[in-house]
Symmetry: C2
Subunit: 142 residues, 2 copies
């Protein structure tokens, strides 16, 4: 039983919700999928394991996972919402290939520090931030 599964169970219990086999399957599949999945992509993977599962359930469960702190929404240029689960490994930013869609994560402590400074200079209190670089990945530069 994974740590995330434990966290989710506690969240479920604390809020008087119920653990179902769909929720278990969705969490498991979500955790297994590396990177940044959209609801639709996750759904496509899920129907192979449970053809009866509904897209609405995927959306509802992803929303639950966000509330539980196990997932985080991300919006990159295309119209879709993507969900990330490995953000706990520590904050990171993204390099996105505009050709193949590959997403490369990176972390640069100095940039983070400077961003904090910008926020302070403008008297904002920060909640979160995003830094996204769009371009061509090494493979797509031809």
């Amino acid at each position: 039983m994974s740590k995330e599964s434990e966290v989710f169970r506690r969240y479920i219990e604390r809020n008087n919700l119920k653990m179902t086999k769909q929720r278990e399957l969705i969490l498991e599949t979500f955790l297994f999928s590396r990177g940044h999945v959209s609801a639709e992509e996750l759904y496509q993977t899920l129907i192979e394991k449970d053809p009866a599962i509904g897209l609405a359930t995927v959306y509802r469960t992803l929303s639950l996972l966000c509330d539980a702190g196990l997932a985080q929404q991300r919006h990159f240029g295309d119209g879709q919402t993507r969900y990330e689960h490995d953000f706990e490994q520590g904050h990171h930013d993204h390099l996105i290939c505009v050709n193949c869609g590959k997403i490369q994560e990176f972390f640069h402590p100095h940039i983070e520090t400077l961003l904090e400074q910008v926020v302070a200079d403008h008297n904002f209190t920060i909640q979160n931030h995003r830094v996204e670089l769009y371009g061509l990945c090494p493979d797509c530069q031809k």
Copy 2:
């Protein structure tokens, strides 16, 4: 006649398109609106000047302005696409208030330099980037 209007006319001509009073009105209104407008917001302003104008035309013209290099799409958290026209004044990033929606622009040369370095380190060729900080603006911190 503004510089942008000139650029637009050239673009129209070069692509064998036609200049219409709707396109003129939309460009003019778009340029006048400071900041980051959504198609719907622009449309609301426009129907006061020309009640017959269609929302589809607004979308089509904004798309044209993007192609002509006079506008740029931006996606902030909410579901709407926003259009920016003053990005030519030089690149800048955004501080967004999650409470009142105010958008404060800023520019920090050192951050830009570091981002270029990150891109180089990963062998990407950059096209553009965005840095967005979400939090509470001074007014909303109560």
